[in-house]
Amino acid sequence: MTDQAITTDPELDDNHQSGLASFWFYFKENKGAVIGLCFFLAICFIALFADFIAPHAPNQQYREFFLVPPVWQEGGTWQFLLGTDAVGRDMLSRLIHGSRYSLFVGIIVVVGAVSVGVTTGLVVGYIGGALDTLVMRLMDIILAFPSLLLALVLVAVLGPSLTNAIIAIAIIQQPHYVRLTRAAVLGEREKDYVTAARLAGVGPIRLMFRTILPNCMAPLIVQAALSFSTAILDAAALGFLGMGAQPPTPEWGTMLAESREFILRAWWVVTLPGLAILMTVLAINLMGDGLRDALDPKLKRS
């Protein structure tokens, strides 16, 4: 199914030197991607320096200020720019700190899924045989369940928490990487340059990681960007169903779930975390599109 995404091109190898420059040349053509990148960098900055940027501590309760509206609305105060939630915590500070969790989820999931998935894919693709069959059937089993449902059951098994949500999401993303890498390896394995390298006495591990892997990087990078945004969405959905980060963690999905009951009375506690999720995911997807266009020579031409 994912086989069609494999579009490794020897061309890419030829201009390896200028790879980065050419990548940037194509990437910056795409205005959306550049906007996405800027926004994403801004979020990274906010997440890194949340302690300095946030006007209040995220879990500090101001008992005099339950559900204060944002500053531009009647009843708002400059003390709380985006208002407060049901126990008097500053929304802006919570949203700022929430960026940490979302990025954290994205990064850990991608790192986890890529490292495990790619290694598995390389190994089973290279070795083949019974191991290959076994792993691929295992991936089929994971793919037979809708991803969110599987994550939900895994979290129910492990116990609801952010860590377990991350583990569950990383597991459900495995098959994409394994299949992608394996297919690429199968495609490359018999090519001349690999055979040549093998004859020259290059060991299997070096062959896998140094010779074959670089040739299937492009689709992997695109897939990683996609994983990053789905991971954030899935973590938020789990949080929304009460199976992700637990309160008072200012994770956006959890904030949404916690404040759902105020939807009519205090729009800001419900709308803002959702908006934060949407913007972040959108920025990453814009970037992902840019990456794909810049890395995928086939689409580049069109």
Partner: protein, 336 residues
């Protein structure tokens, strides 16, 4: 072709066994148990607890339970819900039509809007029109749908009062459940207004569930079209002076449909995941909400049966998509 079919089926058997094993073992390692949950604050004595677990058959060795489960599952017996005491099979098929109806509507919605958007964007490639359509599609693709649903309810049902808030049909209408599909049943009932009531209840959930497939289809259609439009035969057709509409409509679209069909097939899993969230928000009596409830009640047979049935449905759809793909594009058959 027959060999290909046989091979595909052969692959399904180990996957099916794996799926039953997965569903079975997930449920066994869930912390907590239904007896404790049902007893609530009142509690249950340790002796009675043991007695009830025995009654449910949870005290036998795991492998015995598994094989027992596997063989009954093969004969269509998924056990009995611990909560309602009804067969899980019956429960699943009472609720399935609601989810199916919603999913079909969502896919139709996604196709009816997504295909033209993708085509138009491809034809007008590079213009502001293309960019704004694709921008909107990307927003849809990035949407946290649980939040989207809440917003739509507030706006359309709350503030504007245009659509009903939840449920499948106005309660004024009451007719027998013939097919389980509200649109069909309401039509068959012949009651005035029933059909439009059922339709109006479907609008918001359809939009919410259809948003992501819509975005995916629009994007996929656009890139497939672009690819086809670049092919030599289309260029030739154009050069021969065939009208743009004819080129696009007849030649390009047909070839662009192949990847789009695959995409639609792949959306089934996405729809099921989306159904869990959509049904939760709209109180839609389907299997998504049922599964969530069953998990939180630790209703083992229901969770187990539900997981298994959904996996089987997804496997089946993937098989059909593969076969279709093989039919349209014979090259695949030999590659497999």
């Amino acid at each position: 072709m027959f060999g290909f079919l046989l091979k595909r089926f052969g692959l399904l058997i180990p996957t099916f066994l794996g799926v039953t094993l997965a569903a079975f073992s997930f449920v066994r390692i869930l912390p907590g148990d239904p007896v404790l949950l049902m007893a609530g604050e009142r509690g249950v004595s340790p002796e009675r607890h043991a007695q009830l677990l025995e009654q449910f058959g949870f005290d036998r060795p795991l492998y015995v339970q598994y094989f027992d489960y596997l063989f009954s599952a093969l004969s269509g017996d998924l056990g009995q819900s611990l909560v309602t005491k009804k067969p899980v099979w019956d429960e699943f098929f009472t609720l399935f039509p609601a989810t199916f109806e919603l999913s079909i509507c969502a896919i139709i919605f996604a196709l009816v809007i997504g295909l033209p958007i993708g085509m138009l964007a491809a034809i007008k490639r590079g213009t502001w029109f293309d960019q704004s359509l694709m921008g909107a599609a990307l927003v849809g693709y990035s949407m946290p749908i649980f939040w989207w649903g809440l917003l739509l309810i507030i706006l359309f049902s709350g503030t504007l009062g245009w659509t009903p808030v939840s449920g499948r049909i106005s309660l004024l209408y009451y007719f027998p459940n013939v097919t389980g599909f509200m649109l069909v049943d309401s039509f068959l009932s012949g009651q005035k207004g029933a059909f439009s009531s059922a339709l109006s209840h479907l609008i918001l959930p359809t939009i919410v569930l259809g948003t992501i497939p819509l975005a995916v289809i629009a994007r996929q259609t656009r890139s497939a079209m672009l690819e086809v439009l670049n092919e030599d035969y289309v260029r030739t057709a154009r050069a021969k002076g065939l009208s743009a509409a004819r080129v696009v409509g007849v030649h390009a679209l047909r070839n662009a449909m192949i990847p789009v069909i695959t995409t639609i097939g792949l959306q089934v899993g996405v729809l099921m995941a989306g159904a869990i969230l959509t049904e939760t928000i709209f109180s839609w009596p389907g299997i998504g909400k049922w599964l969530i409830d069953s998990i939180s009640r630790r209703d083992y047979p229901s969770v187990q049966g539900g997981l298994l049935m959904i996996a089987v449905i997804i496997m089946f759809v993937n098989l059909v998509v593969d076969l279709l793909y093989g039919l349209i594009n014979p090259r695949i058959r030999h590659k497999g």
